[in-house]
């Protein structure tokens, strides 16, 4: 217990916890919009494009000064977004190509600048490597103030423009007919993803930041029925994975934070994709199996009815082997299920023949209903 208190009392640990929380909230909330707008890779481009800004900020300030580094990161990230938009709007390039081009150009410039700075032998350049894969333990209290401010600003924007962002995300064309400035709102949504990227630079680093935008949102989508739920849940998932990854990194032996955070988020994604109700793989598999059984039962039921009608005897006993032949598979289990529902019951016909089945009155009614439903078609 005292060990835990000492752990939480540790200044570095506190910084890591707060930083991971801020990052989780912002990337979860903004990532939800990016994922729903099918712009998951936007985060990737913006994050990579932050690298030249980080280096320029460092060069201009002459030291690892957080304000100028984050400002530089934000500026080049937004610049890359604008390059991408200009490419796609003014040429026949598709969005994925535009994102890819912007990403590689800006990241290449960033790597050139980074190696240049390392070559100058500047004493404080050691800190810059941390921006590639993130290093939670390097976060200072003063950094957190800036990160907190950006978080509040992003959340205020999302809250203020909530219904506009929702409509632009779901149906931008209809939004335009309503008189909403769609291009402006979409640019704003893009810019605030850059905020998330800037906050994540120290925690996760430019290379893996995209996953932090995508993973919590994708996991949250699995459990949500409404956008409100998805956004809140994505924030929670973001915080959880941020905390898990950052704490392991801060207490371990200099492990990079970014990969650990992303691995934690990945676990959440896998669990969500498998187990979420309604949308999860396992749930769907169970439902498919149930549908298949129900379909088989209905087929056997209508066959029984058809044979009863053919023989002009509502209580016509049908031999199981005949049903097996007709359906090309064993019908015993379907018949057992139908018997349990009181729709058929086994009868003894001739001692030397196999089991026989006949429809009960409820079975006749159920078979008629099946045919009515088929006639009505899927609404």
């Amino acid at each position: 217990m005292s060990g835990l208190l000492a752990f939480l009392g540790d200044h570095t640990i506190q910084n890591v916890v707060i930083g991971a929380t801020l990052l989780g909230i912002v990337s979860g909330v903004l990532g939800s919009f990016a994922v729903l707008r099918q712009q998951s890779l936007l985060g990737d481009t913006l994050a990579h494009a932050a690298l030249p800004g980080i280096c320029l900020g460092f060069i201009i300030a002459g030291a690892r000064q957080i304000e100028s580094i984050l400002a530089g990161a934000f500026v080049t990230a937004v610049l890359a977004a604008l390059v991408m938009l200009a490419l796609t709007r003014n040429s026949r390039l598709k969005t994925d190509a535009g994102l890819g081009i912007a990403l590689s150009i800006f990241f290449a410039i960033g790597v050139v600048l980074l190696t240049y700075i390392q070559g100058t032998g500047n004493a404080s350049q050691g800190g810059l490597d941390a921006f590639l894969f993130g290093q939670a333990a390097a976060i200072l209290r003063s950094d957190l103030v800036i990160m907190g401010g950006i978080t509040l600003l992003s959340l205020a924007l999302v809250a203020g423009f909530w219904k506009e962002f929702k409509l632009v995300t779901f149906d931008p064309v209809f939004a335009a007919t309503q008189g909403l400035p769609v291009a402006l709102l979409e640019t704003l949504l893009t810019v605030i993803v850059a905020f998330a990227v800037v906050i994540g630079l120290q925690m996760v680093g430019v290379v893996l930041m995209a996953a932090m935008v995508i993973a919590p949102a994708v996991a949250a989508r699995q459990w949500s029925r409404r956008l409100e739920q998805m956004v809140v849940l994505a924030a929670v998932f973001g915080v959880v994975s941020g905390l898990v990854g950052a704490l392991i990194s801060a207490t371990g032996r200099g492990l990079s934070t970014g990969p650990l955070v992303i691995l934690a988020a990945t676990v959440l994604v896998i669990v969500s994709i498998l187990f979420a109700p309604q949308r999860g793989v396992i749930w769907e598999e169970i439902k498919r199996g149930r549908d298949r059984r129900e379909l088989g039962d209905n087929q056997v039921l209508t066959t029984l009815q058809g044979l009863a009608r053919h023989h002009d005897d509502p209580a016509y006993p049908v031999e199981q082997g005949m049903l097996d032949t007709y359906h090309g598979l064993a019908t015993r289990r379907a018949l057992t299920r139908l018997a349990r529902r009181g729709l058929v019951h086994p009868v003894r016909h001739m001692p030397d023949e196999g089991p026989h089945w006949e429809l009960t009155p409820a079975g006749h009614a159920a078979a008629r209903q099946v045919l009515v439903d088929i006639d009505a078609g899927g609404r």
């Binding site: 409509l167 008189g179 899927g378």
Partner: protein, 267 residues
């Protein structure tokens, strides 16, 4: 009736003059004039790539014209927005969006709500009323991803209904929907028309034009014919738009105009 002098062709619900629209230098609509009087239900028909959707999108300011002008009840769309309802193609959005049918319908009111105002009880009731009109009241809280295609289409129609517009534009509302939905949609559109609204529908099914509509515009890059459906829906006019595809239309037209000589449709 005095007419403000800044209005242009105010007696027409839709007035399109000398409109040309092009994509990448290729004309999609070429020098077209369209006039639709108020209170009609008009079908816009034409083969694939005829520019039907483009015409509607241009009227709604979603596509910039290369040349020409458009007025709705005498004024440009930008000042008539509140009088116009729009039902886009169902396939234009991702229905896996996490929300309910009711929420989508409420979106039709966002424009008039204005910035920073949240939809409240009045908007909710309005949306529920519209869902009732399309016979979807019991599915108000259903996830939109779990709706059938026909139900999704009706949600879109309800979203346009809450707009309480004078002119409605619908882009292929009957494409790929079940018979129940088609009947519901047609009945509702007739109700709107009978209430004096103008309803303009991009329509793909030539067999039903005669039954559903009272106005018709045949389009294929150019406007080939427009007017009351009884005068316009002839095999000659359709031949101009559909060309060699006309063989497929024979049966349709024989039903509609038994006296039309069949020789006309020879390949």
């Amino acid at each position: 009736m005095t007419v403000p002098e800044n209005l242009h062709e105010p007696s027409l619900a839709v007035h399109v003059e000398d409109l040309t629209v092009s994509y990448h230098g290729k004309p999609v609509l070429w020098d077209i004039d369209v006039d639709i009087p108020p209170g009609v239900m008009a079908a816009v028909v034409g083969p694939n790539g005829a520019g039907k959707s483009t015409l509607i999108k241009t009227i709604l300011g979603l596509v910039k014209p290369t040349a020409g002008h458009i007025t709705l009840h005498g004024a440009p769309y930008s000042s008539q927005r509140k009088r116009v309802g729009y039902v886009p193609q169902r396939s234009s959005v991702d229905w896996d969006f996490p929300t309910t049918a009711l929420d989508i319908v409420t979106m039709g009111l966002y424009g008039r709500l204005g910035w920073f105002r949240r939809p409240g009880r009045a908007e909710r009731e309005r949306a529920l009323w519209a869902l009732g009109e399309v016979r979807m009241a019991d599915l108000a809280d259903r996830q939109i991803s779990q709706l059938s295609g026909g139900q999704q289409q009706r949600v879109f129609l309800a979203r346009a209904l809450v707009q309480e517009a004078d002119v409605y534009f619908l882009d292929e509302p009957m494409a790929g929907v079940d018979a129940t939905t088609e009947r519901t949609i047609v009945a509702l559109l007739h109700k709107l028309r009978d209430a004096g609204k103008t309803v303009i529908v991009v329509h793909h099914d030539l067999q039903t034009v005669q039954d559903y509509f009272d106005w018709m515009i045949i389009l294929n890059i150019r406007v080939l014919a427009q007017g009351p459906v009884g005068e316009i829906n002839t095999i000659g006019n359709l031949h101009k738009a559909y060309g060699s595809q006309i063989a497929l239309l024979d049966r349709v037209q024989q039903a509609a105009e038994p006296r039309e000589p069949v020789a006309e449709s020879a390949q």
